[in-house]
């Protein structure tokens, strides 16, 4: 019985990794006053090579709005969070079309950032 449960668990773990974006390489920018944010319906990432990903899959910024619309569905505002993970070295040419696409899809944008370290006074 436990063996079957074990195999089922492995199966679901592998299935869940399909939407995982942990393989996408990026470094967050730092900012003050960042908050802990809740879970998102979708994650858009701009990686170190300035490629755009939607839930871990490469996508063009032109196709992003159309791809996000069915994911967000008819969820009310406040439940349409889209995490935007932008590599700290990205430029406006990379991230502005992505912000525009999230806006077009009606997503609630959340910039994923790292809290700025306060230097120790010694």
């Amino acid at each position: 019985m436990a063996d079957i449960a074990f195999l089922l668990l492995i199966f679901f773990v592998i299935l869940a990794r399909g939407e995982d974006d942990s393989h996408v390489q990026w470094q967050p920018a730092r900012a003050k006053d960042v908050k802990v944010v809740s879970t998102a319906r979708a994650t858009v990432t701009i990686d170190v090579g300035f490629k755009t990903y939607l839930n871990g899959r490469v996508i063009s910024p032109d196709e992003l709005a159309d791809a996000l619309t069915p994911i967000l569905g008819d969820a009310p505002s406040g439940q349409r969070y889209v995490f935007l993970k932008v590599h700290r070295e990205a430029k406006a040419t990379h991230f502005e079309p992505v912000i525009a696409a999230i806006s077009d899809a009606g997503g609630d944008l959340v910039h994923i950032l790292e809290p700025e370290q306060i230097p120790n006074k010694q």
Partner: protein, 140 residues
């Protein structure tokens, strides 16, 4: 001198090893899911057509370049910009007057853009992006 090893009276049950493995997996799955994200939420109304020219001229205009920030024609650094934008928005009472039009140079780094957008939001402004393709996006 020889030591006598006593016989085990009960063999350990074999089936318990898979139960332990199962419990360990549950433990690692739960602990892996504990990772929390931190960031800044921004409410984005749907993309709107460019505001009328007459109305746009009243708005505060901000240009971001890789070297600095230009507020209504005067070049500033981020700290000074945050103070100036807060002063400028204090005088505005109507929601429509609190719109801040932000135009970024193509080479503007993301951390600079985030700093400017954060300063505008904290001052109570409504950030509006002006893109190269002449589309306007409001960011609350």
């Amino acid at each position: 001198m020889k030591l006598r090893r006593g016989k085990l009276l009960v063999d350990p049950p074999d089936c318990s090893s898979s139960d332990i493995a199962f419990t360990l997996i549950i433990f690692f799955l739960v602990s892996a899911g504990e990772h929390t994200e931190t960031g800044i939420p921004q409410l984005l109304p749907k993309t709107e057509a460019k505001a009328e020219k007459g109305e746009q001229s009243k708005n505060i205009e901000v240009s971001i370049t890789p070297t600095g920030i230009v507020l209504n024609g005067s070049p500033l650094q981020l700290q000074e910009f945050a103070q100036r934008i807060a002063e400028a928005l204090k005088q505005k009472t109507r929601e429509a007057d609190r719109i801040v039009v932000v135009k970024s140079a193509p080479e503007t780094p993301y951390p600079t853009w985030i700093g400017v957008s954060q300063a505008i939001s904290q001052a109570g402004g409504v950030l509006t992006l002006e893109l190269e393709s002449e589309r306007t996006i409001n960011v609350e």
